[in-house]
Structure formats: C-alpha cells, structure tokens
C-alpha cells in the first residue's frame, strides 16, 4: 500500500461496532457450544472439541497470510461475506457435527470414532475461522488503528460473555443457537451501514435471512443427545416422559415422570432392604446424572429404605439438632435427615432451578424445602460454610456425581473445592464438639476416591492440631458406596459398637475404626484382599507418604491451590493399563486427565502446522534489518497470548470461592478482564506508551493480586455480594488495563514494519490462546494456580524483553517508512 493510500486509510474509521458485535457473537458461540456439547455428549469431550475448534482463529491468520492482498482489495464485501458465512456456520456446523454421532465410549474399540472426532473439529472450527477473518482483515486494513480495533474486539468479548450467560437463563440452548445465527446476519446489516455501502437494499435481504434462520423447523434443530446418556436410556422405557424443562448456564434440567415403571432410585441400598423407594420424579442434569424428588407422604414407613444406605450411619451415632447438607439436589438427603428426626436442617444448593422444581411440587415432595425446620441456601457450599458462624452436629457431603461419570474418571478436570484439605478443616471447625462430618462416595475398584478422602481427612485433622487423627475416623462400605465419618472428638467404644451393629445388620463392611483388626474387614462384600482396610491403615501409619507414592493411582490429598480431587491419574500406571486394552482394561484409565494431555498435544501439533505453514510455503526473504523478525513475532505474540489467558483462568479460579459461585466468578472475572483490557488498549495508543511500562505494572499488580486473592477468602468473606464484586473490579481492573496494551502496541509496530505479517502475528496469538487454556489446567493440576500466575508473569517479562530495543517509547505510531 502506498503512502497516500495509507494516509487515506488513516482518515477512515474502522468498523468498530461491527468488530465488537462479531467478537461478542464468537464468544457467545463458544460458551453456547460448551453448553450444547455438555448436553448431547459429556462435558470433558465438550472441553476438548471446543478448545480445538478455537484453532479456527489461528487458521484464519494462516489463511490470510496467503490471501490478504486479494481480500484487502475488496475489503468491505469480504468482511460482510465472512460475517454471513459465520452466521450460517454457527448453525449448520453444530447441527452437522452432532449428526456425526461421535461416541467417545467406543473410541477404544472402534477406530472409526477417531475419524468422526477429526471431522467434528473441522466442522466446529469453521465458524471461528470466519469470525476471526473479520477481525484479522480489519487489522490489516486499518493497521494504524489496531489498538482501537483490538479494544472493540475485547469489549465485544467481555459483553458477549455477560450477554450469553444472561440469555442462557431465559432461552434454551437449542433455540439460542438459531438466535445467534440470525443475530449474526443482523450484524451484516450493521457492517453494511457502518461501511456506508450503497445501495442499502441488500440489508433487507440480510434481515429476511435472519428471520428465516430463526424460524428453522424444530425437526432440523433438535439436539441429538447421545443414546447412552441416562436420560436417553430412561426415555426408552414405556411410560417415561419429560414433563418439564428448565435451562440455565449451569445445566439443562429435564423433569421425568415414569408412570409404568417406577424410578426406584436408591443407590447403595443394602441387600437386607425389604422395601423399595416410594414414587419418585427424576431430574436429569444435562441429560445425565439423575436426582430424584421422592414422594413424602404422611406414612413415614414408606421411607424405611433411607435407613438401609451407608449414609444413614451418622444418624445411628447421634440424634443431630443441627444438620448441614451440601448439594441439596432434589432433596434425598434432606428427606433422610427428616426421617431421622433431625432438629434443624440447612442445605446448600448451587443450582436455583433445581430448588425451584422441587418447590413447584409441594404436594408430591411434602413441601420438603419449605418446612419449618428446613432452610435451603443457594450458593457454593464452601463459601456458605466459611461465611457462617453456626456450629453443626452433622455435616453431610452426599454422593454428588453420577456413578458412570465418576467411574470413568470424567470429573478429573473439574476444579472441586469441596474435598480439599482446607475444605475439610473448615467443615470440622464448624462441628459441635461431638459432631460428625460424613462424606460418601461411589466405590471404585481398585479404591481411589475413598482412600484419597481418607488421606485428606487425616491431613486436615493433623493440620487442626489433633495428635491422634486415627481416633477420629470411621469408614464403612457396601458393594456400591462408601461413607467416611470424621468425628471432632475421639470416638467412644460405645459408638464403635453402634457402627459394628449398623454394618452387620445391613451387610456393610467395616473399612476402618480405631482399633480394628484385619479379620473384621472384607466380610460381606469380598475382594481378593482387604484393599480398603489395608489402604486406610497404611495412610494412617508413618509410612503413608511412601504408600501414596507406590499406589498406582494419585491419592494424595488435593488443596485449594490444586483443587483436582477427582484426578487419580499417574503416568507410571499408563503402560500397564494400555496393555490390558483388549480385556477392557480401559475402565482403569482415568480418562479425564489423558483427554487434557491429548488436547494439548493436538493443539500444539495443529498450532505448529498453522504457524509454520506460511513460513515453509511462502518463504519470506530474510531481512537482516527487519526489526520484527519472524522468531521475534512468534516469541512475543505467543508469550502474551499465553500470559493473558493464564492470568484470566487463574483469577477466575481464585475468585470462585470468594464470589461464591463458579458461574458468577467466571462472568465477573471475564468481563472485568476483557472490558478493562479494551480500555487499556485504547489508552496505550492514545498516550503512545512503551510496552515496558505496562509490563512492569503487570508484574507488580500480578504479584500483589495473587497475595491479596489468597487472603480475600479467609479475611474478607463476610462482605456483601456487591462489595465483593467491587473488590474484584478494583483488584483485577488495573491489571487487565495494562494487559490490554502489549498486543496492540506490538501489532501496530509490526504493521508499520511488515504489514504482511499482521495476519501471521494474529495466527500466533490465536494458537497461543488455545494452547494456553489447556496448558493452564495442566499446570494447575501439577503445580497449582499460584504457579500458573507466576508463569504468566514470567511470560510477560519475556515479551517485554523481546520487544525491539529503541522502539519502546514510540508504541502506538508507525516509525518506519
């Protein structure tokens, strides 16, 4: 482009509103896809598929390296074409993708599934590819206004995150897909008007198309839920129907009535049980893990089955006045507490819609959640406990996950703050002197979570200064479930007698009590060896560290900094399990972690291709004088891409406990980061700031925020919600403000020195973002979130060091030519 043209271009304003809206829609689509795939498939695969489809951003940069000039000649039309293609792809690629009928369960048996998975990536990358084309083309076209465009991009993403989370409360995910598609067509109209194109009649066509898209027949757009998920299985049974649906960003809830064949949900029921549960209504979350509302009639004997579960043990040891239940769900555990005449019951539930569904059926549920002695609180359990000064006789943590999900290790990527050492300490502190903490898990073979929980409890007791933790613990198991009791004071002989009696009557096994002998273990539910008893004993001994080291699954207690309770994976066990593949040994594979590694591997390989392709196919004449060499671009843009996402992800995690809800934490932190970074981007250009200054401030504020964030939860948790949000803004806003500068400052500079490389820098940054999301989780699993923040700060330091010397004070302006 010659100087005159460049000057002309400088006079024109870039289509900022269009970019803002495209970016908002791309982020909305990403969050929506996560929801959709969690419903039709499983959450962990959603994570992998969507992470990789975001490589569409990187692919866009690579594509434009080759076609930039051609498209820039027809910038307006290309931009609008990409917007419209984005709109069509949003709908078509998802619907096409779900009809591939990819089944992750069959991957180890059937190689065709790998092909389907690959096809799914390609399908889902397309929408992001078109969206990214819009932004990268605009960067190339208005290369002196990069900061303004980048600001619009970030503002858009920030608004998009709030917009889609809000919409997901009122619109079902399937309908929202159509809505997004048609809204993107309306953005086509905005672009047309913003670019002042003539004539204006095509805008009416776009609006017409938007309406058509929104009204696509339901038969085309139904969600194809995997036939192996619990809900699909249930609906195969004659007389089973969905009677109500609710949806929010947390989950899609389907209320199922089964008129002919009762649901009879009573996992872990003793073999000595004589009766079945009364009528139940099922609530399926995202088409799987079922919760039930049980009919609570006046005749309490109908609920006798609740005494035949391992979770009933604490009620045989004391008559609790104050009970706290985590994960109220549809009320099964509240019902159990009522059955045993508990005085006052507090129950915490994350999802308000579950509570609403139970409340809407007062006759059936016996007005369960609105009884005088039942108090249901909406929120995150840890935050509730920490904010409460009440003491309890019993704190119950029921089995919260579905069996199949838990058994397959699908939850290993989920951060879980309920089972960390700090969490257990907090629960024990909230017990009355003779109170119990009771936690139940599904039995997995060989034992994993039960032993990890046992180790966590022992460590929590030690940390609380209790000299003999072994005197405070009891564990029992059925063939299906295990319950661990932690008593604040040592257990008495009388209580131990009651435990033995409870187990004997129900064919449950004793796993551990103070003073237990080996011959008492492994009596009713027999394993080749008393694995549970042996493990518990070893974990209490002096040699516990060595035992955990030698154990083939990771059973070391999790902490708030590494909150991955459900990650049991150990690399050293992998070859052995792979050898057992033919026998179905894959059941031993803790697949969640491996999926993460697989995702990282694929993302890295694809990124390498996308970044190296332009270099190999279109070799750039090596220019010794070039300030922005290719290697410099790669290091700089990769470092800030990783750094930005690392900080964002780590601080979302750091704020989950403080803001009391993972969803609010994600929404608030994302919005603060993106909006403030957008403002920073604008500011950096206006003030012609050098990159070194924002980076120095990032390092200072990053360290400060890290220290402060760790204190927040323990010291300032009593503040009301809006003050907490304000604190989040005050803490993260300035940090994000500075983080908004390094990208536009450098890209403007690249644009001045080597405009051809703008799309390439965009590709590098796009690939870095994808790798960053996966790598952050992996780093957190091994080293904790503190390490993620520190790594991000090092990366920003590296970026500053890479920035060409002598350019640092000129930032926002072109200096060459």
């Amino acid at each position: 482009m010659d100087k005159k043209a460049a000057n002309n271009q400088q006079d024109l304003a870039p289509p900022r509103l269009t970019i803002l809206l495209v970016s908002a829609m791309a982020l909305s689509y990403e969050i929506l896809l996560m929801r959709l795939f969690s419903i039709v498939q499983y959450h962990h695969f959603a994570y992998m598929v969507i992470s990789l489809s975001l490589l569409g951003y990187g692919a866009s940069g690579t594509f434009l390296v080759f076609f930039r000039q051609r498209f820039l000649h027809r910038f307006s039309l290309t931009l609008i074409a990409n917007i419209l293609l984005f709109g069509i792809a949003v709908i078509a690629c998802y619907l096409g993708g779900q009809h591939l009928l990819f089944n992750p369960d069959e991957m180890f048996w059937d190689n065709r599934q790998w092909l389907k998975l690959f096809a799914l990536y390609l399908f889902l990358a397309l929408p992001f590819f078109f969206a990214a084309n819009c932004i990268a083309l605009t960067f190339s076209k208005y290369r002196l206004k990069i900061a303004a465009i980048y600001a619009a991009d970030l503002f858009g993403a920030g608004l998009g995150s709030i917009f889609v989370i809000g919409l997901l409360f009122v619109v079902f995910p399937g309908k929202l897909l159509l809505l997004l598609g048609s809204m993107i067509f309306v953005i086509g109209v905005v672009a047309w008007l913003e670019l002042r194109l003539q004539p204006t009649w095509p805008t009416f066509c776009f609006i017409g198309a938007a309406v058509v898209l929104f009204l696509l027949p339901a038969a085309w757009t139904n969600l194809a839920i995997s036939p192996y998920k619990g809900l699909s299985q249930q609906l195969r049974i004659k007389g089973s129907t969905i009677v109500e649906e609710q949806s929010s960003p947390l989950a899609w809830l389907a209320v199922v009535k089964s008129d002919l064949v009762p649901l009879r949900y009573a996992p872990g029921l003793s073999l000595s049980a004589e009766s079945e549960p009364p009528a139940q209504i099922g609530i399926f979350m995202d088409g799987d893990s079922m919760n039930v509302i049980t009919r609570f009639a006046d005749d309490i004997s109908e609920l006798a089955y609740l005494d035949k579960l391992t979770t009933a043990l604490p009620y045989h040891l004391l008559q609790p006045q104050d009970v706290l239940i985590f994960g109220a769900g549809a009320g099964s555990d509240i019902l159990q507490a009522l059955y045993f005449n508990a005085g006052s019951i507090d129950a915490v539930e994350l999802n308000p819609q579950v509570v609403k569904l139970v409340r809407e059926r007062p006759q059936f549920s016996g007005n369960l959640f609105d009884r005088e002695n039942v108090h249901v609180h909406i929120g995150e359990a840890r935050s509730f406990v920490s904010g409460s000064s009440k003491k309890f006789d019993l704190v119950q943590l029921p089995m919260l996950e579905s069996f199949s999900g838990s058994a397959a290790g699908l939850y290993s990527l989920n951060e879980n703050y309920l089972y960390t050492v700090e969490a257990l300490q907090e629960y024990i502190k909230h017990l009355n002197p003779a109170g119990y903490l009771s936690m139940s898990r599904w039995v997995k073979l060989p034992p994993r979570d039960t032993l990890k929980l046992f180790a966590t409890a022992a460590e929590a007791l030690k940390n609380l200064g209790i000299q003999h933790p072994e005197a405070h613990l009891v564990m029992i198991r059925s063939w299906q479930s295990a319950s661990l009791l932690v008593k604040k004071s040592p257990l008495s002989l009388e209580e131990i007698g009651l435990v033995k009696e409870f187990c004997h009557e129900r064919f449950f096994d004793l796993v551990y009590y103070p003073g237990m002998q080996q011959q008492e273990a492994n009596r009713f539910n027999i394993m080749r060896r008393p694995y549970f008893y042996d493990g518990a004993l070893k974990l209490l001994g002096n040699d516990s560290a060595r035992f955990m080291e030698r154990y083939k699954f990771n059973i070391k207690p999790s902490t708030d900094d590494k909150p991955y309770f459900a990650n049991f994976f150990k690399w050293q066990t992998l070859p052995e399990i792979l050898n057992l593949k033919g026998q179905g040994g894959m059941v031993l594979l803790e697949s969640g972690y491996l999926i993460l590694v697989l995702t990282l591997f694929q993302a890295t390989a694809a990124s390498l291709v996308l970044i190296l392709l332009p270099v190999t196919v279109k070799p750039h004449a090596p220019d010794q004088e070039a300030i922005w060499s290719r290697s410099r671009i790669v290091v700089y843009f990769f470092a800030i891409g990783l750094g930005f996402l690392f900080l964002e992800i780590a601080f979302i995690q750091k704020f989950i406990l403080y803001l009391g809800h993972p969803l609010y934490a994600a929404a608030v932190v994302l919005a603060v980061f993106l909006v403030f970074a957008g403002m920073g981007s604008q500011f950096g250009q206006a003030k012609r700031i050098g990159v070194i200054w924002p980076v120095i401030i990032i390092l200072g504020l990053g360290m400060g925020d890290l220290i402060f964030a760790n204190l927040l939860f323990s010291v300032l948790n009593w503040f009301p919600g809006f003050i907490k949000v304000l604190i989040a803004i005050l803490m993260l806003g300035p940090l994000a403000f500075c983080m908004g500068m390094p990208f536009p400052l450098a890209l403007t500079d690249v644009g001045a020195a080597a405009p051809d490389l703008i799309p390439w820098a965009w590709a590098v940054n796009g690939c870095a973002s994808v790798v960053a999301a996966v790598l952050a989780t992996l780093l957190a699993i091994h080293f904790g979130f503190t390490a993620v923040v520190l790594t991000a700060l090092v990366l920003y330091g590296l970026a500053a060091a890479t920035f060409p010397a002598g350019k640092k004070l000129r930032g926002g302006r072109s200096v060459t030519g």
Partner: protein
C-alpha cells in the same frame, strides 16, 4: 445382432452375480466358524491373564465350547456383522450393547450353570447371552424392558431354535414370581441397586451376577451368593488383572 449381444451380457452378468453370492455365502460360513475359533482363543487368553482375579486358569470347558457354537453374528445388527466375533462390545441400537464375548463367558462361568438349572435373566438385549445360557442346557427365563428389543430378541431366539427359552417384555424389578426360585440370576441391565424381590427369588445356594459400569465398559462384576441358610455375601470382581500397589502380586 446387437440385441443378442446385450442379452448375452445380461445373462452372463446375472450368472456371475449368482456365482458371487454362492461363493460369498460359502466363504461366510467358513469365515464365521474361523472367526468363532479366533474369538474363543481371545477369550482363553484373556482368562489366562486374569486368572489371579477370577481364581482359575481357565473357564469351564462347557462354557468355552458353547462360546464356540453360538452364532453371535445372528445377534448383532447387519451393520456390525463384520465385527460380530471381535472380542469387544457392539452397539445394537436403542442405546444398548451386546457385551464383550469375554465378559459373557466370564459371567456364564461365574454362575456355573448345570443342565436343567433354572436361570432368570434381567435384560435380554440382543438375546446372545440368553442363547449362551440356553445352549448350556439351562431353562432360561428372560425379561426385557425395551419393547422393540424384546420382540426382536424373542423372534431371533425362536428362529435359532432355542425353543425352551421363555421371554417376556416388561419390568424386571419383580423378577418372574411364577417360576421362582431360580438357581441363578443374571442382571445384565444396569441396576441402581439390587432389587429385593430378585434376592428373594434366588434359591438358597444360588448365585446372582451383575455387571457394573457403562454400556461399553464393565467396571466390575458383582457376584451375590445366598448360602444354604439364606445369608448373603457379595464378591466384587475386577475383570482385568491389576493390583493397585506396585510390587504387589
């Protein structure tokens, strides 16, 4: 002239087609027998590997011989026929699967069926496990809750000559009261818990086996034993050879 030529071509084509069908059918029979032999070998090898867990070096020879006889390809959908004898679970539609042959053999062995034993099966599915039990000489009663699967399996079993098998479509929770008690019960459908009525319908000295896990992967087999006095114990069996501690054998 041209017409005659065309006719010849058409006749030749059909003749060739006929030959192809004949050849492929003959090959099919051979292939299936060969495939079954290979499948039995694969099962034997899995059993040897897991002998530590199942407490035996080989399964009952009667079970192995039955596994070599029952025509599994007749119990899988046509799209899956080429994989009928692979030692793996296969989808059969309606969100259900036909179990891995190794698991079928292991479960059949665990309940040690004798001829004339009365066996109750909850979850007929494709009917393959039913056929294996019938081939063992047992009197089999099988219940399937999913209508289309139940009727298809019943028809298939009838056509394959398993006339003594009694099937029913419906809820398996209450077992088959009129025919109780049973020497063995096999619950091949996923169970949230073990239904108390089934425990009641088990003879003293009888056994019940339940695979636990997902449709494509069995996590563990639960074997419930009722002794002569009616006392219950369960055994939990991991279907693979694996010890949780390094250096432990």
């Amino acid at each position: 002239m041209l017409q005659l030529f065309t006719w010849r071509v058409v006749v030749f084509f059909f003749f060739w087609l006929f030959l192809q069908v004949l050849v492929s059918n003959a090959a099919g029979i051979d292939n299936y027998e060969e495939a079954r032999r290979k499948m039995v070998k694969a099962i034997e090898s899995d059993v040897r590997e897991t002998s530590l867990y199942i407490n035996k070096k080989s399964l009952d020879p009667r079970v192995m011989s039955v596994m070599g006889r029952v025509e599994r390809h007749k119990f899988v959908p046509s799209a899956e026929q080429s994989r009928a004898y692979a030692n793996q679970p296969l989808p059969i539609g309606h969100g259900q699967t036909i179990s891995q042959p190794y698991i079928v053999a292991l479960m059949t062995d665990l309940i040690s069926v004798d001829p004339e034993d009365k066996v109750l099966e909850i979850g007929t599915g494709s009917g393959y496990q039913t056929a294996v039990l019938a081939e063992m000489g047992a009197e089999v009663f099988s219940i399937e809750i999913i209508g289309p699967l139940a009727s298809k399996a019943a028809k298939r079993l009838q056509e394959s000559g398993y006339d003594r098998v009694k099937t029913r479509q419906g809820d398996g929770y209450y077992g088959w009261e009129e025919e109780a008690p049973f020497d063995a019960i096999m619950v091949t459908a996923a169970a949230g818990h073990i239904p108390p009525p089934l425990i009641r319908q088990l003879k003293p000295g009888g056994v019940m086996v339940i695979p636990v896990g997902s449709r494509f992967m069995v996590q563990q087999l639960v074997l419930v034993t009722k002794d002569g006095a009616g006392a219950l114990t369960t055994r939990q069996i991991l279907p693979v050879r694996f010890v949780p501690l390094t250096g432990e054998h």
